[in-house]
Amino acid sequence: MMIKDKRLITFLFCTIISLLFSLPVSADLLIDDNYQLVSKTRASRTEYDYTFKATATNTGEDVEVNVSATLTSSSDFTTVIDGDINFGNVAAESSVTGDDTFTIRQNRSYPFDPSALSWDVTSENLRIVQISSEGGMPGDKISIGYSGAIDEEPIEVIFSGMIASSSVINLNLLQFDVPYDCKSGPLFIRQGNRASNQFFFHNYKLFIQISN
């Protein structure tokens, strides 16, 4: 019965726990108004394509990872030709001008209305995206797949309020050993001040996500 349970747990760990990944909108990120015009080309009798560079500013106290922005227009006279920009990581209280550009097409027969254009700025949180193990018993290895980490910065596994012994296997994958003195508790990973989503761990039982 015990072996059957362990197989079942392993199967469930390996197949079921694959979490949906979403990019949250950050309140600490904004796109500055000081766009840099890169080029202007004529598209039709009255329409011109304007290509700009943009700058993202992080007003928060933590680094924002894989920052990206998408421009949308509600104007019939301004079309977004390419509205996606990537900025990479933006350090706390700093700005990054992306190498990437965005392009709008403006019908010059009508005045340009910047209020008709809006940015959706997102960054990637540190997230556990998959957990799998050989069983979940004390001493067993638990593999944690994650995303949104900052390169070359140490990551800690926090299990039941304590730093657990862990090692990075490769990019976005680490392992930790289930401690002998603790069978259950909240589990998450941490990089500096950035904490991931949390799971409740109990050996013999599934990991259940308890926070985003």
Binding site: Y50, F52, I104
Partner: protein, 158 residues
Amino acid sequence: MSSAKAIIITYNATDLGSGLWQYDYYVSDYDFNADYGFQIFFEYGLYENITPVSSPSDWDVIAYDPDVIFGSPDDGAYDALALVDGASLAESFSVQFNWLGTGNPNGQYFEVYDSDYAFVDSGESVPGTAPVPEPTTMVLLGTGLIGLAGYRKKIKKS
């Protein structure tokens, strides 16, 4: 294909009063085929309310004001598109506008484009005649001169 000759655009600037001016453009030394055209640019900060007034019948003309696109000032333009091969250049292309600059409006940068709106040629418009004062200015000037003449005559008599 349009003519490869060096296009010349001359202008006459007329002060219509209250900041309203009119350019009358004369285009020469160029043959425009259908769907070719030219644009005369109105510099940001110097012009507004650019309105086509008249043009030769073989042309479709539009105009738009200078604007600021995401913080970048961009010029307005007067755009004339030839509707037939060898479109007539016999009459003037006229446009009215509000002049925001000091002194009189000057020459303007222009471009010729092909049927794909691609650049073909460019240049700067050159003055045809001196700016023509508006009628009310002429009346005021004339009245002043008559007054001066009368005053001089009165002084001579005394």
